[in-house]
């Protein structure tokens, strides 16, 4: 990790976005005082991450990226153990969270699927409704329904004034819940942006098919649009800086089919590297 300066405020969902191995987990484990920075400081709630670790952890919920649980315990025993160490919540609350995530409490952890283990970790992090949630790749292995539950809970937490710090290597996940996003690559924070701005800057791959191909010529001069490939009845395009100009131009055409692909993470990063040299 190099030169990372970052502040996250109350009531904010901050997304930490980068490819695997970029340094997301390293940064998060520094927040938890599992590893220490060689220089610089980590402060949470104005407290020192190392010296005041116990006080910090009292107000924090954490989901590790490489979640390892006690194999011999059941989910119930695991959560009860952490609840005892934290001074709460009571068993009824744990059961409420478990049923919300459709988690079976009484099976031993070693018999649980990846997704169910992840649910144990999530309930453990969320059950105390802590002031700060630090979640490393929270929805890995979860089915879409549970992912939506998680996202809803995170937005609720932020709405209640709590702070969420989550990492992901998937843009759509971060875009779904985060207010601001930090882009991290090779241990460096290369940009902090609002989600809307990232979307606007991102390059979309667009494929359009029309009834009257003659009209396609009108698209070639549109701002931000580059033609990648010509088809018999349409075009494959790359669109930078928002889709509105293209959509306006399409309005006059007989559009049969239109598909817009979410930009991949690599493309998002490329747009930032290009942006800095432009």
């Amino acid at each position: 990790m190099r030169e990372l300066t970052l502040e996250v405020g109350w009531g904010e969902v901050f997304g930490f976005l980068g490819p695997n191995g970029a340094g997301k987990t390293t940064t998060i484990r520094m927040l938890l005082d599992l590893i220490r920075p060689q220089s610089g400081t980590v402060r949470l709630f104005g407290l020192d991450a190392r010296r005041d670790a116990v006080a910090v952890h009292r107000r924090l919920g954490y989901l590790p990226g490489e979640l390892a649980l006690y194999e011999r315990l059941s989910a119930r025993e695991t959560l009860a153990h952490f609840a005892r160490l934290r001074g709460g919540p009571d068993e009824a609350t744990v059961e409420r969270w478990a049923s919300e995530f459709d988690l079976e409490l009484d099976r031993p952890v070693r018999a649980l699927s990846r997704g169910n283990r992840q649910k144990v970790g999530l309930v453990g992090a969320l059950m105390n409704e802590p002031d700060l949630l630090v979640l490393d790749e929270p929805t890995v292995g979860l089915d879409p329904l549970v992912q939506r539950t998680v996202h809803r809970r995170l937005r609720q937490a932020a709405a209640a004034g709590r702070t969420v710090f989550l990492s992901s290597h998937v843009l759509s996940e971060v875009a779904e819940v985060a207010d601001r996003v930090g882009l991290i690559k090779d241990g460096r924070l290369i940009a902090i942006e609002r989600v809307a701005e990232i979307r606007a800057r991102a390059i979309h791959a667009v494929e359009v098919r029309v009834g009257a191909p003659a009209g396609l010529a009108a698209l070639e001069g549109v701002a931000g649009v580059t033609v990648r490939e010509r088809l018999d009845d349409g075009l494959r395009l790359e669109v930078a800086g928002g889709l509105n100009p293209l959509l306006a131009a399409l309005a006059g055409l007989d559009v049969l089919d239109l598909s817009v692909h979410e930009p991949s993470l690599e493309e998002v990063f490329l747009s930032y590297y290009d942006g800095s040299s432009r």
Partner: protein, 260 residues
Amino acid sequence: MLARSLREERRSLVGWSVGIATYCVVMLSVFPTIHDNKAFVKIFEAYPEVFRKLFNVTDFTTGPGYLGAEIFSVIAPMLLALFAILWGSDLAAGEEERGTIDLLLANPVSRRRVLLEKWVALALGTLWLGAVLEGTLGLLGPLFSLSVGWAGLSAAVLGSSAFALAFATLALAVGAASGSRGLGRGVATALAVASYLLSALAPMVSAFQRVEWLSLWNQALGHQPLTTGLRPANLAVLAVVVVVLLALSLWGYDRRDLAT
């Protein structure tokens, strides 16, 4: 965490307890054939001096002499030490190797508290096994016409337990500072054996005699505790060693980056 640690080890504790008690009963059941048998006395008198010293054979036909040679000469202290070293090496390094330490430390507990509570569980477990050893020998001994004073027996058991705890704490310290269970186990086992050999061979090897005091085995068991009873000075040495190693463990663990 203390209760959790003891629960986690409960199967292992039961297994070891049964094993040690069984071993004791087997050894006790042989005693009546040796007891007051003049032929055995002659056999052992015919053994070379070196052999008798090596295996702590003093007077085989009395209760304390028999236990000293058969139970406390090597097996019982080493069994306790092995049990405790396995646990001690796992104490810090185990959760780190398995990756569960991340979630545990995310709770409002300090690394020091985690280690201390787990160590207390280990100490209680070791004392428990010592109590099994003492109870089996002391209570069942008379059934096999073996009588041994509780004071002597307690001194030998306490010495064995202290020896075990010292090397378990060494295993903890190495594991806590390195994050490796294997390293903790290896170093502690090697030094425990070396400590025994130094003490056992000292009567025969003059070079060892001068450094015999270095051997924790010698401090714990080198003075015939079964017949001479408890020696507070020796136990104090062991206690100091344990406290120093525990402090080193806490220091080593607290300052380190924990592995994923």
